[in-house]
Amino acid sequence: MHPVAREALLASLEDGWADPDRLYASGRRARRLLEAAQAATAEVLGVRPDELSFWPSGTAALHAGVLGGLAGRSSKGRTLVHSAIEHSAVLHAAAHHGDAVEVGVDLLGRLDLDAWATRVKAPGVALAALISASHEVGTVQPVAAAAELCAEAGVPLLVDGAQTVGRAPVPRGWGLLTASARKWGGPAGVGLLVVRKGVRWRSPYPGDDLYRPRPQGAADVPAIVAAAASLRAAADEAATEAVRLSALVDRIRETVTRTVPDVEVVGDPVERLPHLVTFSCLYVDGEALLHALDREGFAVSSGSSCTASTLRPSHVLEAMGVLSHGNVRVSLHRGTTSDDVDRFLAVLPRLVERIRAEAGM
């Protein structure tokens, strides 16, 4: 957690505990904190405070954005167009809705814009959804071009900005935007949904205000205050951090290719997130590698099927057609040092070699 988030959370626990919808004094204090957090967040995002709502998680914000965006346009059409590399929250919302069309990506994980153009211009499209950058392989998506094609077709675009908000400006042209506070070092349990003026949204849930997004139940004001404070801090540090982390990612990309035989570093080497790098090692069990790295003190993720509850490989790696076994995703953060990266790079080759030897390779 970002130290600013921790400070803000502790400072607002007392005054932010009350229900901000109540009219007594403590409720009004909580309401003032909530409104200040809303205004501060909206300012960082460059949107109006009344366009922004807080949700219990990034996943909840995505479900509300996708299903509410579709419901708001139900008189125009039913179809959701989305990329094949969306967060699973979008895929689950799409499956729940039932009428969805997927647009593929190339080997680097970049959206097929020609197919996107054809799909969003087809009749009956209610909403399009695109992730700002792949959360699994880091490839930045052509959001501005995709948004322009949506505008030509008169279809609102939802951008899942979880990987970008707090790190870099999100390109304009979207109608709905979602993000997750944890991704910028904020507390768990705060998601954002922005619905621009002029974009119709209708609640897909039971509730008394159908046209203005707001989650059910009382807001977690201290967590929202911490999210707002840390978003500003992260955005202020973003440019410097991007340069530092991007150089570390370059070092990992270059060294892994050189020191580990039969490895495929995946995702776009240039048009990528500054802090994320993913590679797959041939003949290696991803789960075994993840645990071996964990024992060395490295917390990494994997898109390999053996590490998933579903025992299916990552849908992102599948959509790209890159190797899914032996997959490791390294996500760097503000606490990651150059020494940490060097130590990771020093232990990785022998761990991979040992796992391969155990498999007889």
Partner: protein
């Protein structure tokens, strides 16, 4: 055609078996892999791309043909 039965095996085992068998095969040979792990349909073509071999198609679910070209 050379056939290897990897049904019931989890990835990367089918790909390891394929790599071993391909090392012994002659150029032009086709190795047929029977594999029902959900990752095989993705990882066998990806292996071919990385190793410069030809993925000769999947005539049926859980059946993957690879032709040795180098």
């Amino acid at each position: 055609m050379i056939e290897i039965d990897c049904r019931g095996q989890r990835c990367p085992l089918p790909v390891i078996a394929l790599a071993r068998r391909m090392a012994e095969a002659e150029v032009g040979d086709v190795v047929r892999v029977l594999a029902d792990d959900p990752a095989a349909a993705n990882d066998i073509p990806a292996w071919c791309r990385l190793k410069g071999q030809e993925f000769a198609g999947s005539p049926d679910a859980s059946v993957f043909d690879v032709r040795k070209i180098t």
